[in-house]
């Protein structure tokens, strides 16, 4: 359980915070609309997360 929260916390920070620029860059997540909404739905699937963690552990 703790591991999942940490993972969610990480994604929450790494994807939603930090320096976000536009201009002379070819790509920025900030330009992609509604990313978070889709992500939220995906992350709600605990099975997917557990599967990924297992894969990471092996």
């Amino acid at each position: 359980m703790q591991q999942q929260i940490t993972l969610l916390e990480l994604v929450d920070r790494v994807l939603n915070k930090g320096v976000s620029l536009s201009g002379d860059i070819t790509l920025s997540v900030a330009d992609v609309d509604l990313v978070y909404v889709g992500l939220r739905v995906l992350l709600a699937s605990v099975g997917t997360l557990e599967e990924l963690q297992l894969r990471d552990d092996t």
């Binding site: 359980m1 999942q4 929260i5 940490t6 993972l7 969610l8 916390e9 990480l10 994604v11 929450d12 920070r13 790494v14 994807l15 939603n16 915070k17 930090g18 320096v19 976000s20 620029l21 002379d24 860059i25 070819t26 790509l27 920025s28 997540v29 900030a30 330009d31 992609v32 990313v35 889709g38 992500l39 939220r40 739905v41 995906l42 992350l43 709600a44 605990v46 997917t48 997360l49 990924l52 990471d56």
Partner: protein, 265 residues
């Protein structure tokens, strides 16, 4: 297909990283520094085929692609932290070439240096406060004076009147729970803020994202010099609110994602 320059973050030019980066192994490229004047970009070369604007929305919604890469991004920044302050970039910032990275560093040198000075010797800690509504409701049923009075009245009231009073008591209890949560969140935030140099309050995550049945009543980030100070405050608050079903999750130290200069946020 040519390479892009993925930007993890910015740090001081003179930073000593030891083998922090040579030993990095993750789903994003091994980082290296691009130094310009007093500041240095922590970058890595990625394939522009992979980090393509058209493909990105799909990739971001694929946890098999995203989670290892988001973890790698975090890992790179975490490895930089012992060397000195870091201005973290958001995941997925890619420049076309080295010249564009240097242009960014040069034209924002003053803002970046100022930000690094402000972040020097400080870390970001995250605090999420959760309330277990069932425990809190049960606790307030016993302790909330207006509700307790109604309960006494209900016990000796005739059936019809008892039904009316019950509905009123339930409504009062709901209000008391919400008021308690608001006050607890405000007081907790004030207590954490008192030991912090800067604060950021983010919207509480819904249960589907937090993965917990409890209600998230505070989602705060605090910039501070002492990790112990925030742990002490969390412990005090946990003792005070523990009987009411409130728990405090402290995470960190994090790279200061929540405290980048406002002109870059």
């Amino acid at each position: 297909m040519s390479d892009g320059w993925y930007l993890y973050g910015v740090t001081h030019a003179g930073v000593e990283l030891g083998d922090a980066y040579t030993t990095f192994d993750g789903a994003l490229p091994r980082p290296f520094l691009v130094i310009d004047g007093e500041v240095a970009a922590i970058t890595g070369k990625v394939s522009l085929e992979e980090f393509d604007e058209a493909r990105l929305p799909g990739l971001l919604n694929d946890p098999g692609w995203l989670i290892p890469r988001a973890t790698a991004h975090q890992d790179v920044l975490e490895r930089a932290l012992p060397g000195g302050p870091v201005v973290p970039f958001r995941f997925g910032t890619v420049y076309r070439d080295e010249r564009a990275v240097r242009t960014f560093l040069r034209s924002n040198a003053h803002e970046l240096t100022t930000a690094l000075e402000r972040l020097s010797g400080r870390v970001e800690m995250g605090v999420k406060v959760f309330a277990d509504r069932d425990v809190l409701t049960a606790a307030l049923r016993d302790t909330d004076a207006p509700v307790a009075e109604l309960e006494t009245e209900i016990a000796s009231a005739p059936e019809g009147r008892a039904y009316m009073l019950r509905r009123r008591a339930d409504r009062l209890l709901d209000e008391a729970v919400q008021q308690f949560e608001q006050e607890c969140a405000a007081e907790s935030h004030a207590a954490f803020s008192a030991v912090a140099d800067d604060v950021a309050v983010n919207p509480p995550q819904p249960a589907e994202l937090s993965g917990r049945s409890e209600e998230m009543i505070l989602n705060g980030a605090y910039l501070l010099q002492s990790v112990e100070a925030i742990n002490d405050v969390a412990q005090e608050l946990a003792q005070r609110y523990g009987g009411s079903g409130v728990t405090f999750d402290v995470t960190g130290p994090w790279p200061p994602y929540n405290f980048v200069p406002s002109e870059f946020a």
